[in-house]
Amino acid sequence: MGTVTMAKALNAALRDAMADDDRVVVFGEDVGQLGGVFRITDGLLAAYGERRCFDTPLAEAGIVGFAVGMAMSGLRPVVEMQFDAFAYPAFEQIASHVAKLRNRTRGALSVPIVIRVPYAGGIGGVEHHCDSSEGYYAHTPGLKVVTPATVPDAYSLLREAIADPDPVVFMEPKKLYFASADATLPVTTEPFGRAVVRRPGRDATLVAYGPSVPVALEAAEAARGEGWDLEVVDLRTIVPFDDETVTASVRRTGRCVVIQEAQGFAGVGAEIAARVQERCFHSLHAPVLRVSGLDIPYPAPKLEHVHLPDVDRVLDAVARLQWDDQPDPRWLAA
């Protein structure tokens, strides 16, 4: 047991996966000598050499397309996109090939690649460095979309992503990279497709993933002072989605708030809210509410705090869960 950052846990997962399976190769921009701009690949070049860990020309479409070909040859590429918004040049490769090869070829070809994407904000980054792009991937059938919120999950989910037979977009919340926790590595946590109740509670369920999980936990703590006992569910994998755990929680509590950093409109939170009301209608005492980023381009550093979901906004939403069985005044005015 020792204190480990999420960055170190991810690094350890790559190291261990490379040690266990000679087919695992890591490549991308600045992942070699530099060890990645967030140091997630630190030391891999020294440990495994140029064949297993290498810098590529600066071209994201090239990186992902190259990975597709390498996977077809039998290797297990793990590629790094330097930042969320810089993965967009690769989107055609991801949406048209990575996601579809298995289906197009009736299973004859598969591309078990992992595309690591540092994502989301809260780090004071200038434009194009803070996008929450999970919705684009989650909307694309054929891709698994995974996002750890804890140090053990960072290790375990990345190991599972590398071993998975399907392509995985592995979304790493940048603001949690250097958050540390007591953890013993290697560690195996719950598998893909399983959400976890991070904090049990009776009055309402907060559903969160990735960077929003700490916000949800903080809000649940603060809510105690207001007399609410909140449950927090960490999705861990957006695709596959764990209807069972989420549904069971909301049936118990009867109220639900979904939290995501991404802009709200047509986002992952909308999907979750829809699924919950479809499955839990008769258990619900209030509509499922969402707390999300605003429907604006990600703001410049000085205003990002206005955009991001925070404890106050979560508590405001909880307060609007019709505790006195009255309609939400916010929508009455309209």
Binding site: G124, E127, H128, H129, D295, I296, V306
Partner: protein, 388 residues
């Protein structure tokens, strides 16, 4: 018709050799070595096709480079003081930053990257407006339409296609505007660079693609970007004339860029220039360059300082003396002092401005969200008052 004309068949071997068509690719290729008009000591080298720019221009180039470097040092200092969120320095690249913008007119368009803060200041943009992006107030602090300067571009190489479209659009509307697109060595690996050059070539758009090859893309050396003898060779495959230049030789940069701009403006299509240079600072303040390059390399490039080179040349010409150098340094100090004062005043950014300009007119959802944020802010202010 596939029959060979009899005239050719009957031609003598000698005539036939003379009639062989010139290789069109040759005219597009860059010089085998980077064009250099000043050697490292500042002594003049004559190169055919590249007359020395007028002395007044060279003095102005010198002045702007000194101010540009002072601006850059001040920006790095402001970053250390926490006044800027991030700063990508161009120290060492002054000849490129200043020489390139001096080769274009105010009515031309410039497409800069994050690296070009110095170039924009040299173009006459307000330094505080230039630094707005890096200070973290808003994504672009100047008026791109008024200044004919696109927002500084971070998604690599994407601006090259915009430059092609802008130049084509201007030409279609009868204007003789040239677009100057900056790009780094690493970014030439992106697909958009190739699409930008090809579009410009096919539509004969007056674009100058200016590659500052500073040898690194963050940590990745040039050898990982290309196997070509020079990045300027990328032009020939697209039918684009190209040249390579010593990017630490201010006279050569200005001369080559002047030729490139004239070529584009005269309707000959785009032109690609690669400048060989070096960034003396890390990629940004957040980078640790010691992980990928050694001090000896940095030191060696320090010996090729572009400002020293031009200063030696101008002193040799007798058009710059101690008094003139001192006056320019004073001007640069005053510039930096003014920048410091203005940057130390923290601007207030209105949170509700987040909802402006997402669309020409806000959607109903944005109107609703704006109202919610306004109410939150009002409540927070009230709480503060009660608490205070």
């Amino acid at each position: 018709m596939t029959t060979t004309p009899p005239a050719v068949r009957r031609a003598s071997p000698r005539t036939r050799r003379a009639a062989a068509p010139p290789d069109p690719a040759r005219a597009l290729l860059p010089s085998p070595q980077p064009v250099r008009l000043l050697d490292e000591s500042g002594a003049r080298i004559a190169v055919a096709g590249y007359p020395e720019p007028p002395t007044d221009s060279l003095r102005e180039l010198y002045r702007r480079m000194v101010i540009g470097r002072r601006f850059d040092l001040q920006s790095t200092a402001l970053t250390k003081q926490g006044r800027l969120a991030v700063y990508p320095s161009a120290r060492g690249q002054e000849a490129c930053q200043v020489g390139a913008v001096m080769a274009v007119r105010d009515t031309d368009w410039v497409f800069p990257t994050y690296r070009e803060s110095m170039a924009l200041v040299s173009r006459g943009l307000d330094p505080v407006e230039v630094l707005t992006l890096l200070r973290g107030d808003w994504h672009c602090g100047y008026d791109p339409a008024a200044r004919r300067t696109a927002p500084q571009c971070t998604p690599l190489a994407t601006q090259t296609v915009h430059a092609a479209g802008l130049a084509y659009g201007e030409a279609q509307q009868g204007r003789d505007t040239v677009a100057l697109a900056f790009i780094g060595d690493g970014a030439t690996s992106e697909g958009d660079f190739h699409e930008g050059v090809n579009f410009a070539a096919v539509f004969r758009a007056p674009v100058v693609f200016f590659v500052q090859n500073n040898r690194y893309a963050i940590s990745v050396p040039l050898s990982r970007q290309t196997a070509a003898p020079s990045l300027a060779y990328k032009g020939v495959g697209y039918g684009v004339a190209s040249e390579q230049v010593d990017g630490n030789d201010p006279v050569a940069v200005l001369a080559v860029l002047t030729r490139a701009v004239a070529h584009a403006r005269a309707g000959n299509g785009p032109f690609l220039v690669e400048a060989h240079t070096y960034r003396m600072e890390p990629h940004t303040n957040a980078d640790d360059a010691s992980r990928y390059r050694d001090g000896a390399e940095v030191e060696a490039w320090g010996g090729r300082d572009p400002i020293d080179r031009l200063e030696t040349h101008l002193r040799g010409l007798g058009v710059l003396d101690d008094a003139a150098v001192a006056a320019i340094r004073d001007e640069a100090e005053a510039f930096a002092a003014d920048l410091r004062t203005r940057m130390n005043a923290e601007p207030t950014v209105d949170p509700l401005s987040l909802f402006d300009h997402v669309y020409a007119a806000p959607t109903p959802q944005l109107v609703e969200q704006r109202e919610q944020v306004r109410a939150e802010l009002a409540a927070a202010a009230e709480n503060k008052e009660v608490a205070g």
